[in-house]
Assembly symmetry: C2
Homo-oligomer: 373 residues x 2
């Protein structure tokens, strides 16, 4: 096999992630690599922490960028906080809720599932009922923005219910961070994780996470070690700590963190509220265009994520053929259905840098062409 | 805090990693992000697999790039292969051997340590003795190139001994891959992991791993799930599989894999043996220069790693002052001591793209200046 340098095509990324990465972020990514213990780099890590606190709307000192993808961020939250003695309530309304149950099972904790409908928000009353029936529950976890269905859950209300029942909350914000309202401190979220490649429009491979003081205390007071050495946040805390000497843990993904720094800076310069409004406005334009093509959303209007638009594939239309046509003729990527929606839905992302008028226009026109073939 | 775009200085990286990254690799890194399920990307992943097989000198079908740093690669080997019923012999002659014992402990397996001297190769006779005394042992693990001390162990002989005692081998090749002779198939290594940021001179954050057929069978035949969902290679295998439909697991670090592809291609174009010879030649030039400054190696000559040169800090010389001077005056990074050698040694890397005459010349001259201050 003769292998040459890999020169990708310039795609427009409107799937469920990775999303379009701006030239500004790609430029930051390719700056010269420096040492991960270089004082310049340590200073940059402190800035990343501060920028992440802004994005999460938190003052949590333990707010870092994990050196692995969002699914490792999920696992980091569970393995550091949950022990076999705990009872974890997981709200399931899509693929990533199911993945949470997998984490709980592997930890040997007691699992209680709030079964929700795929394509709908988590039902707060269903959570309330389950918590009343399970007084031993001490954790509640749910997905804020279900990437598999495009449903947005009411994180604020779910956290209120959890807190009333004296449960800590573990929240998946992989697709929500930067795209819809999210206020970690105001809503009382205890552990949250996200991904770099969704509404932050950074390259994939990094997972921002943040733990409340309550969650941090649990990590510090554990009596037996976290099953994973790599994800043990008591060790990672010392690596990300600005206080005194930085303890070596692993080698940070230096260049990816340059890119994350730049993408978070772009978010800060735009302003969080402005970013949320932009996602909403582009979503409305896209929804109008999709309606004109006769495409129907899976999620009811008031529960829809602006940044992930899941629509039913019309009867008689060939899923793979349409997506291949868009990719080959227009260099446009939209997402396939996942889990229960595999082959039945398309997921059209408007995340971060991809939430622009030109992308909406391209997507609607190209889909129109594809559907007429 | 007013935050600006982060513009790092152009450093010369001669520490224990990350090593200098070539402009060619940085250029690949910043190519436009495409989807991780894009057929173009899937094709590139197949090429990465083939290039990694060359670098590892293996035909193992399970040869992939893990989406996390080398320490996660280490953990992936242990959590997928070792269960609480197993007895694991770990040869310890530095920090990364100690880290292996931490992995075994967290898994609840029986741990037997071959205590070695820091700064020396693992003693094959000591391993033989321990295996004779522990007939229940079924795994042997050791570090091929100890990054904390600069010692090179005889992986071929250690694997022979392990196999004679019917043990599978788990080998740390984080610093050895690409820098010294390493032949996974010829030496009968069962599980091996490395890092992107050492002699491959790629950006940090990726861990190449490879499992033999024997190891792969263990993963496939496990009766209870791996404790880590993210590191469960039975799921990752389906993601990296070229056969049929690629199963979604997580989002691969797309751009970092562009860079790994390019760095592996550079290695292939140079030729593995040529790369090993280059590291050796540059090491000899550096050793001569260091001797002229009166600096003494920690490791005896025949056990030295060419790509990591650990020397004693002379009596009366201020470690931090010298390293800061090199960084501030020459933009040159050398490494501090680690573990037992903290404050007592410098670690001078000659890894991958950093193993060049100009780097050796700069390092010797700059160190001479720093020591005269």
């Amino acid at each position: 096999m003769s292998i040459q340098s890999f020169i990708p095509k310039q795609r427009t990324l409107m799937g469920p992630g990775p999303s379009d990465v701006s030239p500004q972020v790609l430029s930051a990514l390719s700056r010269p690599t420096i040492g991960h213990l270089d004082p310049l780099f340590v200073g940059m890590m402190d800035e990343v922490k501060s920028l992440l606190q802004y994005a999460f709307q938190t003052t949590n000192p333990f707010t870092i960028a994990l050196s692995a993808p969002g699914s490792a961020g999920m696992e980091a939250c569970f393995v550091n906080l949950v022990t076999p003695d705990d009872t974890v309530v997981v709200c399931v309304n899509g693929v990533f809720g199911v993945r949470m149950t997998e984490n709980v099972k592997r930890l040997g904790a007691k699992l209680v599932v709030v079964e929700g409908e795929w394509g709908r928000a988590v039902d707060p009353q269903a959570l309330e009922k389950v918590l009343q029936e399970n007084p031993s529950a001490n954790f509640v976890s749910f997905v804020h923005a279900e990437t598999s269905t495009g449903a947005l859950s009411d994180a604020k209300t779910l956290c209120e219910i959890a807190r009333k029942h004296d449960c800590l909350t573990i929240v998946d914000a992989v697709t929500s961070l930067g795209g819809v309202e999210l206020r970690v401190d105001d809503w009382g979220i205890d552990a949250i994780y996200s991904g770099s490649q969704k509404c932050l429009s950074c390259v994939p491979g990094i997972s921002p996470i943040s733990f409340s003081e309550r969650a941090t205390e649990i990590v510090k007071n554990r009596t037996h070690p976290v099953p994973s050495w790599f994800l043990d946040q008591s060790l990672v805390m010392a690596y990300w700590s600005g206080e005194g000497k930085r303890a070596y843990h692993h080698t940070a993904p230096v260049n990816s963190l340059y890119a994350l720094h730049e993408s978070l800076l772009m978010l800060k310069n735009e302003g969080l509220e402005n970013s949320w409004a932009r996602h909403k406005a582009q979503h409305q334009a896209l929804a109008k265009g999709l309606a004109s093509l006769g495409l129907e959303f899976i999620v009811p209007e008031e529960e829809r994520l602006p940044q992930l638009n899941a629509v039913h594939i019309p009867e008689g239309v060939d899923d793979v053929k349409v997506r291949s046509y868009l990719l080959n003729e227009y260099n446009l990527e939209i997402g396939a259905g996942l889990g229960a929606f595999a082959g039945k839905a398309w997921r059209i992302g408007l995340m971060g840098y991809a939430a622009r008028s030109e992308n909406v226009a391209l997507c609607v026109s190209a889909l129109k062409d594809a559907l007429q073939k």
